[in-house]
């Protein structure tokens, strides 16, 4: 039983990471029908940007700020202007495939220009542990969990309580109508790309001390985030959060109780079951099909 509790806590900590990555993923889908297959690599890159700034001699705090700014520029603005905008008219699928190519390109670029080796990364959360109800939990895990909760609250407030949020929701639901009623649709779409870039940079900052900075570290993360988004509900921020936490827990329980050799299979089976029986996800709204 105590073992189970440990696994749940560990699963939630990992799941919170997946959730953070999945949230941005669903935002992009909602406002601009972008399936970003490079989302995992988007989390991998900011850490390297920060490391590069530090190698140039800057202190950690400055590296964080510059790293986030560079992420906004490259992964937000650059991604939208250079890839999404010119591709969007071709439809969902070509864009999705282009992001697959982008993922390969990003991994290779980091490997060539930085290193094929893993690098350690400083932690903004002190590396200690705390004891809660007799469970030892690392501060890093708590930090990720706290941030994930903060992001949900922050995003929910932004979307539901501010006029920008209402405009974003209008854009997500029906861009044509939104444009007619005077929503600056283009600016709202750009905003979601920037929010996504900010989220992945944050995720990178929190995860890399645990996962290490490596060119390939986005692969697992990206896949887990997709699955989380689909399982939770592609068109809901809270769905992505719930999906992330669920996948984290399921993965840990599978490793403990099913088989370590097949642990990777369990989230996949969950994914297939969800898609077959509840394609809108656990918390998602069904998307009315016109057929």
């Amino acid at each position: 039983m105590s073992n189970l509790l440990d696994l749940l806590v560990a699963g939630l900590a990992t799941g919170a990471i997946y959730a953070l990555v999945a949230v941005g993923f669903t935002l992009l889908w909602q406002t601009s029908q972008t399936i970003n297959f490079a989302q995992g690599e988007f989390v991998m890159l900011p850490a390297f940007l920060m490391l590069a700034v530090m190698h140039a001699g800057a202190p950690f705090w400055l590296a964080i700020i510059l790293g986030i700014l560079l992420s906004l520029l490259l992964l937000g603005l650059g991604f939208k202007l250079l890839l999404v905008d010119p591709m969007l008219r071709h439809g969902v699928l070509p864009l999705a495939i282009a992001t697959m190519a982008l993922a390969i390109g990003m991994k290779e670029a980091v490997k060539q220009f930085f290193s094929a080796e893993a690098s350690p990364f400083p932690s903004i959360v002190p590396a200690g542990d705390v004891s809660i109800l007799g469970r030892v939990i690392s501060l890093q895990s708590l930090g990720v969990l706290a941030l994930a909760i903060a992001v949900v609250i922050g995003l929910t407030l932004l979307l539901n309580r501010t006029s920008i949020g209402h405009q974003m929701q209008a854009t997500a639901q029906n861009p044509t109508v939104a444009r007619i009623i005077g929503v600056p649709v283009e600016r709202m779409i750009l905003l979601t790309f920037l929010i996504n870039a900010f989220l992945v940079a944050l995720a990178s900052l929190l995860i890399t001390p645990i996962y290490l900075a490596k060119f390939s570290s986005g692969e697992v993360l990206g896949q887990a985030a997709f699955i989380a988004a689909i399982v939770g509900g592609f068109n809901q921020v809270r769905g992505a959060i719930a999906g992330g936490l669920l996948i984290g827990v399921v993965d840990n329980l599978a490793a403990a109780y099913v088989s370590t050799q097949y642990r990777a299979a369990v989230p996949m089976v969950l994914l297939i079951v969800i898609i077959l029986f509840r394609p809108q996800g656990l918390l998602g709204r069904p998307e009315e099909r016109t057929v």
Binding site: H90, M100, L102, E108, P279
Partner: protein, 332 residues
């Protein structure tokens, strides 16, 4: 297309086929190996092109089907069974699994389908790796024999290349027949406009499943050739990246074009060769090139060609129309 154009195309076709038969006779073993690999990958990409390019259903599982085919061939031929038997089993197996995998395609589209097939890809890899009793797990299966075809041993690289080329020719003819048949027309209808297709009596469900099943079966065919080509297989080559590579081949060459996979596979197999001077940068350059290509032409290289020809035709047609119109206007 004018009569001249038609003859010119037939002549070009014959020249290419003759070149594929004659030129490699002087090739070293590596050249033959690469060409054989190209033939095998083209078959797999043709299967995916049917699913994706003609029927419009995205699949990230083609690599897994190549794996299923390869393991079927490896397991059966190392037990002393002939490759042709393995081929039969692989086709039936992949067809059946592809059919089942097509069911999600009836419920969901696009990205969901991509993830279902991606999940399947991962599951297949895990089975290849974990089921030691069947697949010898991570150690792989070695000593896969090359077949005797019509009494000829294909141990040497050149005969084996001809075996691959012959298989490619058969598959190409079958595919040509398929896409020119009413089925091919139905697949295109399915991709272009499923709603309209339904209203014309086209059973989109059955055709979708067929597109998946036939495409997957061709993946299996490619796999049964892959195993004797490398003579050793382990689970690693059949992970997700093979599926992604095949997808890129179809997209780069030209999805929905008959010759797209030929071109795409050639680029993918030979690109490392051409870009060797770039050292480690070639994958990066490839990725960038794919993105640029997709931005410019989402239907790949042949899409560019097609657009160019279409523009020329439209220009010619509108010129004709202009002439006809001016005649009408000047007529008394």
């Amino acid at each position: 297309m004018t009569i001249n154009g038609k003859y010119w195309r037939i002549a070009l076709g014959i020249a290419v086929i003759a070149a594929l038969i004659i030129v490699p006779m002087n090739f070293n073993r590596y050249g033959l190996y690469i060409l054989s690999q190209w033939a095998v990958m083209t078959i797999a990409a043709m299967g995916l092109n049917l699913t994706l390019g003609y029927a419009g259903q995205v699949s990230l599982a083609q690599g897994a089907f190549v794996g299923i085919g390869a393991y079927t061939a490896a397991i059966m031929t190392t037990q002393g069974l002939p490759l042709i038997a393995a081929l039969g089993v692989a086709i039936v197996l992949c067809f059946a699994i592809g059919w089942i995998l097509g069911y999600p395609a009836l419920r969901v589209q696009h990205h969901y389908l991509a993830f279902v097939t991606l999940a399947f890809s991962t599951l297949a890899f895990l089975v290849f790796r974990n089921e030691d009793w069947l697949t010898k797990g991570i150690y792989g299966i070695s000593g896969i024999p090359r077949p005797n075809v019509l009494g000829f041993a294909t141990n040497r690289p050149l005969p084996f290349y001809y075996f691959c080329l012959g298989s490619l020719a058969i598959v190409s003819l079958a595919m040509w027949w398929l896409i020119r048949s009413p089925w091919g027309r139905a697949f295109v209808a399915l991709r272009e406009n499923p709603v309209r297709a339904l209203s014309l009596g086209i059973d989109t469900r059955r055709y979708t499943l067929m597109a998946f099943a036939i495409g997957s079966a061709l993946g299996g065919v490619a796999g049964t050739l892959y195993a004797p080509l490398t003579q050793y297989i382990d689970p690693v080559p059949f992970n997700l990246s093979l599926s992604l590579d095949l997808l890129m081949m179809v997209i780069v060459g030209g999805s929905g074009f008959f010759f797209g996979p030929f071109l795409g596979a050639m680029i993918a197999v030979l690109l490392p060769e051409w870009l060797r001077f770039t050292q480690g940068y070639y994958l990066m350059l490839y990725a960038v090139a794919v993105m640029l290509l997709l931005i410019y032409s989402p239907t790949g290289i042949l899409g560019i060609l097609d657009r160019y020809l279409a523009e020329r035709r439209t220009k010619a047609a509108s010129a004709l129309r202009a002439v006809a119109k001016s005649r009408l206007e000047t007529a008394p």
